[in-house]
Each structure stands twice: as structure tokens, then as C-alpha cells.
């Protein structure tokens, strides 16, 4: 269709066309990244590209992830404490606080934190390379920018978000314990006993699985936005904002879908388990 014709059509038409176009090119991009990653595993040179990304995504993100996790656990405990105490069930708090952290808040907030910390940096880096023709330069030298730039970054996010999620779970549990047991005098024995009966391996596994999905999503979205950003400093800035907002929404949406799937699996395998 020519642009003159498009001009006469309602605005929603061009928006929806852009949306479909964008989704299509995103999935092509994601497919190429996945293919490059699988095919590139055997080449030693590709592993050398991965190492600095692992350092950047994993090690350098660790402090903020630890802090985020701790505060999540503490806030949950503060909010839950008064209600549980009112009905005399404060010893069961551990179950609720730790289950919430491990299943939902650990992975989600770790994902969102990384979307801000890593996603923004990835979009800005790749976007700047795009507008200064460095990506064209790679291609003109016969180097695939998806293999060289995108695959190691996305793979680092995919591998390390689950691990960072575990760290967030750990400090989250510590934070909840600190507020409940140390600050508010809940009995430590029953607190951990109820936690142990409520939180099982499947809950830990679902948190880690979510982390892997969130990591892949935020890595792909951030790289894609940088790869196709518009020219100039403004283009890069917009791409960064858009990458964060999109990652945020996609992480929450994925969390919803994964929660439904994982809950139905858990119920089918072990039946419904009441925490209270």
C-alpha cells in the first residue's frame, strides 16, 4: 500500500499496522539471536565475547539485587505483621512472607531492577553504535552484529537473571526474618518450621524459571530497541525509555501467564495446599 493511501485511513489502522510490523520484526530478531546462540556455542571466540557480559550483568548487578531483595522481604513482613498478630497467627508469617518472595517478588523485582540497570545500558550502548554507524561497520566487515553484539548480551541476561533471583530470594528471606523475629519478637522456631512446610523445591524452581524468562525478555527487548533506534541522541534516549517501559510491562505480563501455568501444574501434581 502506498503512503498516500495510508494517509486517508484512520489512525488506528496505521498504529495497528506499526504494532504488527514491530512484533514481526521483534520475533525475527529473537529467532536470529536464538539461532546465533545455539550455533555459536562451539566457537571459543564467542565465549570470549560472553565473559565481559557475564561480569557486567551478574557481578556488577549483585549489590543492587541484594539490597532490593532485602527491602522486599522487610516491607512484606512489616505489612503482614499487624494483620497476622491480630488473629494470633504471627508464627505462620514465615510461610506467607517467604513464599511471596520466592515465587513472585524475588524474580519480578530482580527482573525489573535488571531491566533498569542492564536494559537501559544495553539499549544505550547498542543504540549509540547504531546511530554512529558502528553496526553498519561491523556488517561491512563481514561480522554479524547479532552474533557479535546481541547474542552474548541476551545470553548473559538469560543465564544470570535466575541466579540473581536466588540472591534476591536469600536476602528477602533474611529481611523478612529480621523484621519478624529480631525486631518484632516472633518465635524463630515455628517461623522457620512453617516456612519449611510452605516453601518447597517447586516454588524455588518456579522463581528460577521466571527469572530465566524475564532475563531473556529484558535482554531481547533492550537489544532490539537499541538495534532499531532512530537517529540522533533523541532517538537513543527514546529507545532507552521505551526499552525499560516495554520490559517492565512484559515482565509483569509474563509473570501473570507463568503464575497461572505453574499454579495449575503444582495443583495437578500435589493438590491445593492451604497455608493458613
Amino acid at each position: 500500500m502506498s503512503d498516500a493511501q495510508a494517509g486517508q485511513l484512520p489512525r488506528w489502522w496505521s498504529w495497528s499496522r506499526q504494532l504488527v510490523d514491530g512484533l514481526g520484526s521483534f520475533w525475527v530478531f529473537a529467532g536470529q539471536t536464538a539461532w546465533c546462540t545455539v550455533r555459536g556455542i562451539v566457537r571459543l571466540a564467542n565465549w570470549r565475547l560472553l565473559t565481559p557480559q557475564l561480569y557486567e550483568v551478574g557481578y556488577r548487578s549483585l549489590p543492587v539485587i541484594l539490597i532490593t531483595g532485602a527491602f522486599v522481604g522487610m516491607v512484606l513482613a512489616v505489612q503482614a505483621l499487624a494483620q497476622f498478630r491480630a488473629v494470633g497467627l504471627e508464627e505462620r508469617m514465615g510461610a506467607i512472607v517467604n513464599l511471596s518472595v520466592v515465587r513472585e517478588l524475588g524474580p519480578v523485582l530482580a527482573g525489573i531492577m535488571l531491566a533498569g540497570r542492564i536494559g537501559g545500558a544495553l539499549t544505550a550502548e547498542i543504540g549509540t553504535m547504531n546511530v554512529t554507524e558502528q553496526i553498519d561497520a561491523l556488517r561491512s566487515m563481514g561480522v554479524d552484529p547479532i552474533r557479535y553484539l546481541v547474542a552474548p548480551r541476551v545470553l548473559a541476561c538469560f543465564l544470570l537473571t535466575p541466579m540473581l533471583t536466588l540472591f534476591a530470594d536469600f536476602t528477602g528471606a533474611l529481611g523478612g526474618w529480621f523484621v519478624s523475629v529480631v525486631q518484632s519478637g516472633v518465635d524463630a522456631g515455628p517461623y522457620w518450621d512453617y516456612t519449611r512446610t510452605a516453601v518447597d523445591n517447586f516454588d524455588l524452581f518456579s522463581g528460577i524459571l521466571k527469572g530465566a524468562f524475564f532475563g531473556a525478555a529484558l535482554g531481547l527487548i533492550s537489544c532490539y530497541k537499541g538495534f532499531y533506534c532512530k537517529a540522533g541522541a533523541e532517538g537513543v534516549g527514546r529507545a532507552c525509555t521505551s526499552a525499560f517501559v516495554t520490559s517492565f510491562i512484559v515482565i509483569l505480563a509474563l509473570d501473570y501467564v507463568l503464575a497461572l501455568i505453574l499454579n495449575s501444574i503444582s495443583e495437578r501434581l500435589w493438590g491445593f495446599q492451604s497455608l493458613l
Binding site: T132, E133, Q134, D136, A137, S140, M141, V143
Partner: protein, 267 residues
């Protein structure tokens, strides 16, 4: 290399058309570039000179028409199939496009590291040789951010020629440089043609540079080639659009839009 092969064009565009949205950049452009010669493409900014270079290296694909490199059609090849062809070409980008996460030496060694099995010592030797060619010995450990505009272009040129390409594509190599540094680049282009027998395609709107380096000049205007000849032919050409560009005079419609009268040129 035989004489017959020498006479065949190394790069050929056949009836290439390209459109970006509502903007028609090329209309049936055909151009054959002979081996070992320097062809300069001139034209106003935004006329599609860089787009032409990007078609030659496969960074852009024509909407219709065909592009050939050394007798092989390349516009329908995928990125993987283009790799061996791209190895035979060097591309000097307008702003250098140096990787700013790497040092100068790493930038120049990058194509070698990606495409050859050379040892670190061999690569160091190539880097030193190319830096010497562009007159920047000893700058290897610097970062691109610490270089001036002219130095960046020379490093970018050293990177473009690190695999000893047969063809070097220059996108506005002298733009933004003072006349002295611009002339250094011109001399480098000539030196590469002389010493390495490369085929060069230079896109520019700097006529001093065009006259100096060109064996042949081609002018693009409104999506077509409107003039094609030797530098001497261009110096005496009477066609008004070509004349105006070559002499650097604004066209009467632009002056009218600015509420200015065209100056009497005394012709």
C-alpha cells in the same frame, strides 16, 4: 591478472531503483566501475551518494535492479553469503565508525581477528604497518575518543585496508576536515591506488578533492546520473546544473525562497 579480466568492471549497478517511504532516491541508476581506477561520485547532500555505497557493500538492497561484484550478483545474497565479498572491500564511514570500546590498535586488528587465523605478533605487525601508511605511528594504544576528527578518519582508513581489500569505498572522506588535513586524505587515497592498486569509489561534495583523486567523476542529481566524465571534462562542462554544483553556486529557486536575487555572475 589477465588483460581481459582487467577490462571487466569490478562493480556494476544495473537499473537500480531505491525508495525510502515517499522519497525516491534512485531511478534506474546504472553504473559500471572499472578495476584499479578511482571513481568519484558527486552530488548535493541527501542525493543518495552514501546510499549508493551501501548498495555496493550490500548494507542496503535495491527495490529493483541488480548489483554485481566481480561478475557475481550480490543484491540477492544473504548476510552469510556476503561475508567473502565484504572481506574484499573496505568501507570508510563518514564519521569513522570506530568501535569506541576498543583501542586504535584493536580497531585495526578487528577484521584480522575475525577473518584470519593470524597470531598476535602477526596482527601487531599489520597494525603497525597500516598505522605507518596513514601516518599515525605509535597511536595504537589510544582510544578513538582521544583522537581528532582527521586522526579518526585515518584510523578508520587503516581499519578499512587491514585485510588488503581490492576495493575501498570512501564516504565523504574529507568532510569536516581543514584543507590541509583534507589533502592528507587525498594523498592517502592516491597512495593506496598507486601502491596497492585498489579500486576506489569516493563519495564527496568537495570538488578540490574530486579533481585531485578522480580518474572519473559521476554526478548524481534527483535520483539519476546526469554527468559522467573525466575531471577535465567537468572543469569545462557547460551544463547549468553541473556547472552550478561544481562552482558552488546556489540555485535561483533557493535564492528566491530566501528573498534574495541571484547575483549577476557576469556571464
Amino acid at each position: 591478472m589477465g588483460d581481459t579480466q582487467n577490462h571487466k568492471p569490478i562493480i556494476e549497478l544495473q537499473q537500480v531503483s531505491k525508495r525510502f517511504g515517499a522519497l525516491q532516491v534512485f531511478k534506474d541508476v546504472s553504473l559500471a566501475l572499472p578495476r584499479g581506477k578511482t571513481t568519484v561520485v558527486i552530488g548535493e547532500s541527501g542525493v543518495g551518494k552514501s546510499v549508493l555505497l551501501k548498495h555496493i557493500v550490500g548494507l542496503l538492497r535495491p527495490d529493483s535492479g541488480r548489483v554485481y561484484f566481480d561478475g557475481r550478483r550480490i543484491d540477492n545474497q544473504n548476510e552469510q553469503q556476503l561475508v567473502p565479498i565484504r572481506r574484499r572491500m573496505g568501507f570508510l564511514f563518514q564519521l569513522g565508525a570506530l568501535f569506541d570500546s576498543m583501542t586504535v590498535a584493536e580497531n585495526i586488528a578487528f577484521p584480522l581477528a575475525e577473518h584470519t587465523e593470524r597470531s598476535a605478533e602477526e596482527m601487531d605487525a599489520v597494525v603497525a604497518e597500516k598505522l605507518r601508511m596513514v601516518g599515525l605511528e605509535g597511536l595504537g594504544p589510544r582510544r578513538p575518543g582521544e583522537l581528532s576528527g582527521g586522526q579518526k578518519k585515518r584510523v578508520a582508513l587503516a581499519r578499512a585496508i587491514s585485510l588488503d581489500p581490492e576495493v575501498v569505498l570512501y564516504d565523504e572522506p574529507t568532510t569536516g576536515l581543514d584543507p590541509v588535513r583534507a589533502d592528507v586524505i587525498n594523498e592517502l587515497i592516491l597512495k593506496l591506488e598507486r601502491e596497492l592498486h585498489v579500486t576506489s569509489v569516493v563519495v564527496t561534495h568537495d570538488m578540490t578533492s574530486a579533481y585531485k583523486v578522480a580518474d572519473r567523476i559521476v554526478m548524481l542529481y534527483e535520483g539519476r546520473i546526469i554527468a559522467d566524465g573525466t575531471p577535465d571534462w567537468f572543469k569545462t562542462c557547460g551544463e547549468p546544473t553541473v556547472r552550478r554544483f561544481v562552482d558552488g553556486r546556489a540555485n535561483p529557486e533557493d535564492l528566491e525562497a530566501l528573498d534574495l536575487q541571484p547575483k549577476d555572475t557576469g556571464e
